[in-house]
């Protein structure tokens, strides 16, 4: 009994830590889907791109993966702005987001995945860092550093962005874009420009999330797909556009998956997010903190 209680406790803790990482993964979609109403299903592909940036910098130059992806963030920001510009001209302006816009992102997802396969192959890749391996032991609780470090950095990122959105002019304009584009024009801000910045930020978060991903688990190009269901489940469950809701949802899902993996086997974990997603859509589409 004691052993299973230990197991349960540790499963919950690692689920919580995993949830922190999921929050970082979902943050970009919380911005693009939640605030900008752009259904960027290619977001996990950008995250994977971040993982391979970390991998390359780490193996070739010996740089810390998180540091490498911090440095790469501006490049991801520009990439995001470019992607939005294309999306705006080709789909948003033509009011053709639902069929062709979605397919566009699906195509991006596929192209990124296949390109990564062509460059890096289908083998699992991993990175080296001092915090990968050791654990912090507090009584019966074991805190693996490879989960704890991404958790902490991820929380810093979420809080920073929340502050940016609520305290700065551009941040408030981003939130206004979600509510009413006409009002934004009255503020003499160009909604397209604001959305471009916001989308750039959302892709920039993918860089860091990619570093976390490859710290937590070895990476190969097709695992990005596993995150699509997870990320959207988290965003929908958290109520679109709400960061606190998103974090709570991410942790809930992290714990649910961790428990499933501990008690039913890791191969069942991917099904959890879908179950949660379908249940949320069927029962409460506005999310746990939704109106």
């Amino acid at each position: 009994m004691d052993v299973s209680l230990d197991l349960l406790f540790n499963a919950v803790i690692s689920g919580l830590l995993l949830g922190g990482f999921y929050a970082a993964v979902s943050l970009g979609v919380a911005i693009s889907f939640g605030l900008l109403d752009i259904v960027n299903i290619a977001h996990p592909a950008f995250i994977l791109l971040g993982s391979y940036v970390a991998f390359t910098a780490n193996t070739v130059l010996g740089i810390d993966p998180i540091l490498a992806c911090l440095i790469a963030m501006p490049a991801f920001y520009l990439l995001g702005m470019l992607a939005y510009q294309v999306y705006y001209i080709a789909f948003e302006r033509r009011d053709d987001q639902s069929l062709r816009g979605l397919s566009f992102f699906f195509g991006l997802l596929f192209i990124t995945e296949v390109t990564l396969v062509l460059i890096f192959g289908v083998d699992y890749r991993l990175v080296q860092a001092a915090y990968i391996g050791p654990s912090l032991k507090l009584g019966i609780v074991e805190l693996p550093l490879r989960l704890l470090v991404p958790f902490l950095v991820s929380m810093v990122m979420v809080v920073t962005l929340q502050l940016f959105l609520s305290r700065t002019f551009v941040g408030r304009a981003v939130q206004a874009v979600a509510q009413d584009q006409g009002a934004l024009r009255l503020m003499a801000a160009n909604p397209v420009k604001i959305k471009r910045i916001a989308f750039g930020i959302s892709i920039a978060t993918a860089s860091l999330a990619g570093a976390f991903l490859i710290i937590i688990q070895p990476v190969e190009p097709s695992i990005g797909r596993d995150y699509i269901g997870r990320v959207f489940a988290i965003c929908v469950l958290g109520g679109l556009g709400s960061f606190p809701g998103m974090v709570i949802a991410a942790m809930t899902l992290g714990i649910a998956e961790s428990l499933t993996a501990t008690f039913f086997g890791p191969s069942w974990a991917p099904a959890v997010s879908f179950g949660v997603l379908l249940l949320t859509l069927a029962v409460r589409p506005s999310g746990i903190l939704g109106r």
């Binding site: 259904v39 299903i41 294309v86 080709a90 789909f91 033509r94 053709d96 639902s98 069929l99 062709r100 816009g101 979605l102 397919s103 566009f104 699906f106 195509g107 991006l108 596929f110 192209i111 995945e113 296949v114 390109t115 396969v117 062509l118 097709s222 797909r225 596993d226 699509i228 269901g229 959207f232 489940a233 929908v236 086997g265 191969s267 069942w268 991917p270 099904a271 997010s273 879908f274 179950g275 997603l277 379908l278 859509l281 069927a282 589409p285």
Partner: protein, 323 residues
């Protein structure tokens, strides 16, 4: 619905001459294959025919009603794995029966997914289908009876029933038959009240409701039909590949091709997916043989992105004068 269907007097061929014409074309293609008498022709032809069915199936929901299904591999694999199950339980079941079973199962799953998510905005349906592909894959990976992650072997009979020759000829013939069935269905929908209802949903759902269109029921019909045809397209797969594992059965290639082909060919009519499948499928086969199989999978993705940006009406649209 039946009382409403097919009441329009549309210019062009009626359903029967169209069907006969398609059967004739299919027979002609098959005879040419027999005349060339090289099994490669049948293997390559099967792939293109399979994509015509998949693309048409996707288009019935995506092109006609505007709801994007990303979970193609789920439906496709349900068809394929239902054949594996039948093969293990009652190997004597003829292939067409297996196809029917796979189609019905996939159609039911489509209906269920639609029932849960089609009341919401279209994007939620799309996201749900994406996630569903992952889940069906998880289920199959954990199901030992069908081989789990290790995969399953299916013994391909040496000779084809009825027609003689290699079994792959029979597979190709069956897939051609499915093409005819899918295309006749798609074209009849376009010309029926159902097709007008679908178009109204695609253009403006609230206005469709206000005009008397039972939108939820029509969307469910489209999802079930679309899923069913995807399942049927997947059902013969185990015999084609003889070894089926989750990672190949759920390969993203199927999904990308099924979406890319209608969008490249044109989503507004039954002809679009056919043109898309022939052009893209042919190009892929050419690149696979001449350059490399790694590059060939990129083709559909790149073409998809290029076409949705630059030619939203697809190849059919390029040749059609704008009204």
């Amino acid at each position: 619905m039946a009382s409403l269907a097919d009441r329009q007097a549309q210019p062009g061929w009626g359903a029967l001459p169209f069907t006969l014409g398609l059967v004739l074309v299919a027979a002609l293609i098959f005879s040419i294959g027999r005349w060339i008498d090289n099994s490669y022709v049948f293997f390559a032809g099967y792939v293109v025919a399979q994509y015509i069915v998949l693309g048409t199936a996707w288009n019935i929901l995506g092109g006609y009603t505007g709801y994007v299904n990303f979970g193609i591999t789920a439906f496709f694999a349900i068809g394929a794995y239902s054949t594996v199950v039948l093969y293990k339980l009652v190997p004597a079941v003829p292939l067409p029966v297996m196809i029917a079973v796979g189609g019905v199962l996939a159609g039911l799953v489509g209906f269920g997914t639609g029932y849960l998510t089609l009341r919401l905005r279209g994007v939620f349906f799309s996201i749900a289908t994406l996630a569903m592909a992952v889940v069906v894959q998880t289920l199959i990976t954990n199901w030992d009876f069908v081989g789990g992650a290790r995969g399953a072997y299916v013994l391909r009979p040496r000779t084809a029933p009825l027609i003689g020759g290699e079994y792959v000829q029979y597979l190709f013939l069956v897939m051609l038959g499915l093409c005819v069935l899918a295309l006749v269905t798609a074209r009849s929908i376009e010309r029926s009240a159902l097709g007008y209802g679908f178009a109204a949903i695609r253009d403006d759902e609230a206005a469709a409701e206000a005009s008397g269109v039972p939108t939820l029921r029509l969307k469910l019909i489209a999802t079930a039909l679309s899923g069913g045809f995807m399942g049927m397209a997947g059902a013969p797969l185990p015999y084609y590949v003889t070894y089926l594992d989750p990672s190949s059965g759920f390969s993203l290639n199927y999904a990308v091709n099924a979406i890319a082909m209608p969008l490249i060919g044109g989503t507004s009519s039954w002809l679009g997916p056919v043109i898309g499948a022939v052009v893209v499928g042919g190009l892929q086969e050419y690149i696979r043989v001449t350059i490399s199989s790694a590059v060939n999978v990129l083709v559909a993705g790149v073409l998809l992105v290029v076409f949705v940006i630059a030619a939203p009406q697809g190849i059919v649209g390029l040749f059609q004068r704008k009204r």
